[in-house]
């Protein structure tokens, strides 16, 4: 339904976003992940028609949204990274203002404010001024303000940055509920891999303004799926044993540290029985044995050589 094609943005010659292709299908929940300064917010601003791309196109059901931003704005809810709220107004007054400039009024407006407050769980604090709220509560109002007009597409830009675990869970649950129960299409930006893993069907990995990988979780993980990783804890460990393990076919890398070994081998080389046999021969007991499944974090590490948060 919404697609960005070869999107680029330069800020005074500095490339913030380069040649980004992104697609949001109806009812999908899509993650956009990348470290600080990757260009996530810039991409989102372009998609939500707030800044003009230097080049590229954005289409909503085939219609160019850059020249006609009206359509996308109607069906879009944006939760910006920074709080977009009047601190001096109460939660209710904020929502009332934003709702009324969405041209809602009367009962319709009251109902949608009530519902939005309920979704984010702030019904009993609605009369309080936003500036008296905790960081987490502010973020929840920030989300509520984007829900008033029941958007078909909800874009969230790092909605959980710097808040307590409780609020964070609440927000994640809210997003999941909107996606599953209301059928809202979600574009969720974060630099927490585990959030995106939990919430999203598909994800885009961004770094230095470019999308460096995209796909479902399984597809992304398969980037790393040519290898298996094992971890062993042994009763004793010597050079001889390590040499012998290295000699086993299919083994790519062996690391030893005190009584622990980390073995990376070609996928499916079925070396568990061989390892057990070898240990038996050397009178070494295997105290602990683990196979490690690679995480998306590992995928990111693999692709960029860096962790998401350094």
């Amino acid at each position: 339904m919404l697609e960005a094609i070869h999107l680029s943005k330069n800020f005074k010659g500095k490339k913030a976003v380069q040649d980004v292709n992104l697609y949001l299908g109806h009812g999908e929940s899509v993650g956009l992940i990348g470290p600080n300064g990757a260009g996530k917010s810039t991409t989102i601003s372009m998609i939500s028609s707030l800044i003009k791309p230097t080049s590229g196109e954005i289409k909503l059901n085939g219609v160019n949204t850059i020249t006609k931003p009206g359509e996308i704005r109607k069906i879009l809810g944006v939760v910006p990274q920074e709080l977009a709220l009047y601190q001096e107004l109460s939660a209710y007054e904020n929502l009332h203002f934003f709702g009324s400039i969405y041209k809602m009024q009367g009962k319709e407006l009251k109902d949608s404010i009530e519902q939005a407050l309920e979704i984010v769980g702030l019904t009993d604090r609605q009369k309080d001024l936003v500036k008296t709220f905790s960081g987490g509560m502010k973020r929840r109002v920030n989300i509520a303000a984007a829900l008033l007009h029941r958007p078909e597409i909800l874009i969230l830009d790092e909605p959980t940055v710097g808040i307590d675990p409780q609020s964070r869970n609440h927000i994640l649950e809210t997003v999941r509920m909107l996606n599953e129960k209301e059928g809202t299409t979600i574009l969720y930006t974060s630099h927490y891999m585990e959030e995106v893993e939990q919430l999203c069907d598909r994800l885009y990995i961004m770094d230095h303004g470019e999308i460096i990988a995209a796909g479902t979780k399984a597809e992304l993980l398969s980037i790393l799926s040519t290898e298996d990783t094992f971890k062993l804890e042994l009763s004793k460990l010597d050079g001889n044993f390590i040499e012998r393990v290295r000699a086993i076919e299919g083994i790519r890398k062996v690391e030893a540290f005190q009584l622990q070994m980390k073995i990376i081998a070609k996928k499916g080389s079925n070396l568990i029985s061989e390892l057990v046999h070898l240990a038996d021969q050397q009178h070494i007991q295997i105290i602990n044995f683990q196979t490690e499944t690679p995480s998306l974090e590992d995928v990111f590490l693999h692709l960029t050589g860096r962790t998401l948060r350094d």
Partner: protein, 422 residues
């Protein structure tokens, strides 16, 4: 639209610090300044104005009585006997010396230095800037004044008062002179009607208070107006800064996303500024009046006029707010924009006479100052307090309306078309 206005006003209401600044501070300042300057005003007020006045006497006083006699007989068709009786009486009244006495009595003397000159001399000195004004006593003045007084008509030969430049300062003196003439004629008239044999002319007392038809313009009134206007200017800057905060807080983006036309935002700012400035101005006037009783016993008309002027000024301020808002949206930098605003306000405040009475400024600055919205407002107010005459408000109010139109258009022209473009 209503939502935008409501939001702006609500935000203002919530900003207690700002609220206190624009409401309490001006009243407090009026109060303090009033006391600080009270002494100065009461005792030294005369020294604040020092008008160099040339008096050109063209009247042939020696021939006055003869002229009067002729006039009474020819024009008023009096019998010779009656005419002679009146002329007899008139000997005791000498308008020209009276005028000099008046100008040189102790109260006026502090305000005016009289130079008795020939007309040509006086004109030269005016040109050189040594003198501020000329008062011409035309030929036949004595006879005409006396004649008018006896037959109860307004005199056709009048004192001519010429100013080098129209300033607040000189208009005060104008009042004094006019007051004198009025008083003079009035006195004659009264005495004639009363049919008193001995005509005795009492001199009008000097000073601002007792003279003229106009009311006093006091220091506390001056402070009430200028402090109100000054803080209204500050309020406009704050309103624009709040726009800056709306950008920084991203709410402006959120507003754009609702498909609201940015113009609604713009007009909302203007209308809320009108409301806020009006309330603030009225608040300062009313509270100052309650505390210091600065406008005692004024008519309903007076207060309606005050309200009308406050409305006009509020519109002017909304025009300024339009320009400021556009600037801050353009510059996208709150601190820099705020710097510009403060500069403008300071400039307007100084040349518009909000910090020091405009008379203390050099003439050229005074003239520019009369083009600032607050300067115009002050001029209007000063006139209204003294004379309550609609006609004197016409020019400044036209100029103020012109300012509203121009500044609104400038704001619109500067307003970024597609919201903020980074």
């Amino acid at each position: 639209m209503r939502s935008f206005i409501k939001k702006d006003i609500l935000m203002f209401w919530r900003d207690r610090k700002e609220l206190i600044t624009v409401l309490v501070l001006p009243v407090l300042l009026v109060f303090i300044l009033n006391f600080a300057f009270a002494g100065l005003f009461n005792h030294d007020k005369k020294s604040t104005i020092d008008l160099q006045l040339a008096v050109v006497n063209q009247d042939k006083e020696a021939e006055a009585l003869e002229q009067l006699n002729k006039k009474l007989m020819n024009e008023a068709s009096l019998e010779e006997q009656e005419a002679t009786a009146l002329v007899e009486q008139a000997q005791h009244i000498q308008p020209v010396p009276l005028l000099f006495d008046f100008l040189e009595n102790k109260d006026i003397k502090n305000l005016v230095t009289v130079h008795r000159l020939k007309e040509a001399e006086a004109v030269d000195k005016i040109k050189e800037g040594d003198l501020d004004a000329i008062l011409i006593i035309p030929d036949g003045f004595t006879a005409e004044s006396l004649y008018a007084a006896f037959v109860g008509k307004t005199p056709t030969v009048k004192l001519q008062y010429k100013l080098e430049q129209q300033t607040n300062n000189s208009s005060a003196l104008n009042n004094i002179i006019q007051g004198f003439m009025y008083q003079l004629n009035y006195q004659f008239a009264i005495q004639t009607i009363a049919g008193a044999k001995e005509v005795e002319v009492t001199l009008p007392e000097g000073g601002f208070e007792e003279i003229g038809t106009g009311e006093t313009f006091t220091m506390s009134q001056y402070f009430t107006i200028t402090m109100g206007a000054l803080f209204a200017l500050f309020m406009v800057a704050t309103a624009a800064t709040k726009t800056g905060i709306e950008i920084r807080q991203q709410v402006f983006n959120r507003i754009l996303l609702t498909n609201s036309h940015p113009m609604q935002f713009f007009i909302g700012k203007m209308v809320s500024t009108i409301c806020l400035v009006f309330l603030q101005i009225i608040f300062v006037i009313i509270v100052s009046n309650l505390i210091l009783n600065i406008f005692p016993d004024r008519s309903m008309t007076f207060w309606i006029g005050i309200a009308a002027m406050a409305v006009l000024f509020s519109f002017a301020m909304s025009g300024l707010a339009a320009v400021f808002t556009a600037i801050i949206l353009r510059m996208n930098n709150i601190d820099a924009s705020n710097g510009i605003f403060m500069l403008v306000i300071l400039l307007f405040g100084i040349i518009g006479g909000n910090f020091v009475p405009i008379q203390m400024l050099p003439d050229w600055l005074q003239q520019i100052g009369e083009w600032t919205p607050n300067g115009l407002y002050l001029v209007m107010f000063t006139d209204w307090i003294q004379f309550e005459e609609l006609s004197s408000l016409a020019k400044p109010s036209m100029l103020l309306i012109g300012f509203v139109i121009l500044s609104t258009m400038a704001g619109l022209a500067l307003f970024p078309k597609r919201g903020i473009t980074k």
